[in-house]
Symmetry: C2
Subunit: 263 residues, 2 copies
């Protein structure tokens, strides 16, 4: 398989850097091709602005979705963005690796999403009708591919547990897993999360590295998070509200959008 690893940590000589090496080594040892987008090393531009839209006249107002769709359609996106889109199209699996800063991704990675996810590429795709609301949430440009997060946190695992003060880690990651990865079509694998990384030593590293190697060996067989597909009948169109009675008793919020019964 072809794997794209997007790396968003400012220090190569870090736990994140070491985990990246472990992942790549294991993937390559099993015959996969790995491509890396090291956002800091590439000097990735984070903020969406007028410079991203070469066709935009100086007198024209910037409407991001419109401008983005126009450049995408005319193949006039900036070379850095076009190159990342090509990488996404080539890769069978996408891994986003980042430290969890303020309960989300670092700005440089958010800026990769904001800029690479053009209208016509990651959204604004597909026909709208009485039975479809475009191609999104399980359908779209990147459908048939897999994606997963590799995340480190400074906090205690318990603080991210179902009753933990930060909120459950799976809910904190939902805007990314569901809203950024499932949206343009990916099947999303459970994340690989490492906690309390500021306290790491050699003894704590070994089992984590082994767990990561195991995840890299099973990228193609791990069951994805069972997010519901938008156009498979579970949602009312056009309100896109989940039909009543489909969920397990007692579930609400983000959990509604997974179908863990497999039904």
């Amino acid at each position: 398989m072809k794997v794209l690893l997007v790396f968003a940590h400012p220090e190569r000589h870090s736990l994140n850097g070491a985990l990246r090496d472990v992942a790549i080594k294991e993937l390559e040892a099993h015959g996969n091709e790995v491509e890396v987008s090291d956002l800091y090393a590439q000097g990735w531009k984070a903020a969406v602005d007028r410079e991203d839209f070469p066709s935009l006249a100086p007198s024209e107002k910037l409407q991001v979705a419109h401008a983005s769709g126009r450049e995408f359609a005319s193949r006039t996106l900036t070379p850095d963005v076009a190159a990342e889109q090509e990488k996404l199209l080539r890769a069978d699996v996408l891994i986003l690796q980042f430290p969890f800063w303020w309960f989300s991704m670092p700005a440089i990675l958010k800026g990769w999403v904001d800029r690479v996810y053009s209208f016509g590429f990651a959204y604004g795709v597909g026909e709208q009708s009485e039975t479809r609301w475009g191609d999104r949430y399980g359908e779209g440009t990147l459908a048939g591919k897999r994606a997963m997060l590799l995340v480190t946190t400074g906090g205690w695992e318990e603080h991210y547990s179902p009753r933990g003060i930060n909120g459950p880690i799976e809910d904190l990651l939902f805007p990314i897993n569901h809203g950024i990865l499932h949206y343009p079509g990916y099947d999303v694998l459970p994340p690989f999360v490492v906690h309390r990384v500021d306290r790491f030593d050699e003894a704590s590293f070994a089992p984590v590295a082994e767990g990561l190697r195991e995840r890299m060996r099973t990228l193609s067989s791990t069951l994805p998070i069972p997010y519901r597909k938008q156009n498979a009948g579970d949602y009312h169109i056009p309100t896109m509200e989940l039909r009543t009675g489909l969920e397990q008793a007692g579930l609400s919020g983000f959990a509604l959008h997974s179908n863990s019964t497999g039904a």
Copy 2:
């Protein structure tokens, strides 16, 4: 009161720009002082990197929390970051205004959080003991102040409803409201959210503007989201898990961390 409005939209001549004008005009008409951080106009640097830490030797590894705490303690943060911290300390109310891109804030605003929220300023504050886990979640540098989000989305309100496919808007905003605003101490007001902004015309603008003016007039009286304070006895220390039996029946996930009974 003193109000700081952090504006994170790349186009001044936009609905966001118009809402910003409405908010400021109303605040000033009622005797408030408004300061604006217009991140695009300021050319705000989004990515945390070595340049943020002048004391870091070229041979030294970058550990962000450590480096950030050191510069904060020695008052050697870069001038752009120090200036934003001063603004936060001066303001009684913080408003973050941004378009909701990929279910979170634009990269430039995330980079404002990542860089301005130094260790020792927004985290790593307060003593840890058997009865306290530092000053966070309702306590800390910014305690006693209020904050709120002013957010625009391109999507339908129904898609963000309790059963909507995107997930409920209040849950999607929890990582920001609770994790970024409540964390360093703010009382967090309910967000002001405007949907379907790509379809706006004069007729749809008027009621939204009036709603926003009302919120600006009531900044000091609006009841905050009743997030639980970390050190008030609701959480086990050090696991910071909510004690059982405190929540309303049927609640789980993020909702556990509000006490809507007022008890």
